[in-house]
Symmetry: C2
Subunit: 249 residues, 2 copies
């Protein structure tokens, strides 16, 4: 396939959702939880803990989105949720402030999906690659540094003062990259993120991440007709965009 | 020398001035001016033109800094100065809107100094590398993409709504990287930039760029006692920070 495909010839930048789309948050949180549990002698179902932490994400952001909280960056929302969960799982007494502060930053240390680094490296040959994540800038920078994610630019809801799916988050990208929305393609594993980007005039690519919620989950992988591309992973997306081959995981 | 040196052991991020420190704006503007002049049959002293364009930079930013203009990104300030200069150099009639728009974006296409890409690549092994430039985000992203500048993060005065040397520009970096100022070292070829960073509590490295204003200029290379390091180029800085050797230009 030639690069670029004719219907996407105007696209110049790809904007990536990160949690779940680029990195496997669930396995990473479980891994660090298990290590922490072993070190402190805690009997905890860390898969349930990871799922509960993530389940607190949307409600916490909604408190900001609906004005119940002033702008609060994701690190601080994660910490509020973490402190509640430590109580709920009965381990609040076992973890001191240093433990909590370190564990809260596990979201800075998430591992990429196996195709992410090589797939992004291929995509970067044809496009500006930016994040468009609800993670704060420092979280995204630290994650990229550790995982080797080859971003050209780290953009965050923090820079808009609005979390996705608020339209202001998408408009921040068009403003800062100085590109009209039709020249930016949102890449995400979540339908509502792509639908919100589509409403702002972005192009969209749905990347399926069937393991985001673990091997036993049955995630919604349905395709909205508004999606411009549907891909199995970042290599499949690079293939569809006509980019040269590169090393695969 | 071990990495990191003991007096800078806390430094985690390097924040770089860009115009003059990382890229050679003058030679790049002259090069493109000469090409444009040849294409349009214009007799212009492009070195004088480049110097005049750059000389318009501080006064234009000061109009924003003093509230005479609302926040205006550097691309637009460059364009205001360019339109004035085309009149002053008597070539306004010869350049249409497409020529002007393209030439204005020469600031997105500046060439790095010979040591910049390899030197930054070495420094990146030890530190988070961010820009802290008055250039707008899209300018810095396009420049990095073209020149291969290996930033971890692209931060700009645009994100603060304040141009350097306003303190808000430096505080934006500490806020977004979530690091105290003493853990960030400003790297610049300009004393006043480093002095302003020092006032905010940053560490500072002065990198001499004696050719910034051309081979006939006699730039101020004086060293302020507030500078933590003084370097001849980015390889010298990497040496002083105890980083491993890498390919030199």
């Amino acid at each position: 396939m030639p690069h670029p495909p004719s219907d996407l010839a105007e696209v110049r930048a790809l904007a990536f959702d990160v949690f779940g789309t680029v990195v496997d948050w669930r396995s990473s949180v479980i891994r660090e939880g298990e290590a922490l549990g072993a070190a402190r002698g805690l009997a905890v179902d860390w898969a349930a803990f990871a799922d509960a932490w993530r389940a607190g994400y949307a409600p916490a952001m909604n408190r900001v989105r609906h004005g119940e909280l002033p702008w609060t960056r994701l690190d601080d929302l994660h910490r509020m949720t973490l402190d509640n969960l430590l109580e709920r799982f009965g381990i609040a007494e076992a973890l001191d402030e240093a433990d909590r502060a370190h564990f809260n930053r596990v979201w800075h240390r998430l591992d990429p999906w196996p195709d992410s680094v090589n797939g992004l490296t291929r995509l970067r040959r044809g496009y500006i690659l930016t994040t468009l994540s609800n993670g704060n800038v420092s979280l995204l920078v630290n994650m990229a540094k550790r995982a080797g994610l080859p971003w050209d630019c780290v953009l965050s809801a923090e820079l808009a003062g609005h979390y996705k799916r608020d339209p202001e988050a998408y408009r921040m990208v068009t403003r800062l990259l100085d590109l009209p929305p039709k020249r930016i393609m949102m890449v995400a594993a979540h339908q509502d993120d792509l639908q919100a980007a589509h409403r702002e005039g972005f192009r969209t690519a749905f990347v399926k991440r069937p393991l985001e919620h673990g091997p036993d989950a049955t995630p919604d992988l349905s395709v909205d007709p508004c999606f411009d591309r549907v891909a199995e992973d970042f290599h499949d997306l690079a293939d569809q965009l006509g980019l040269p081959e590169g090393p695969r995981p």
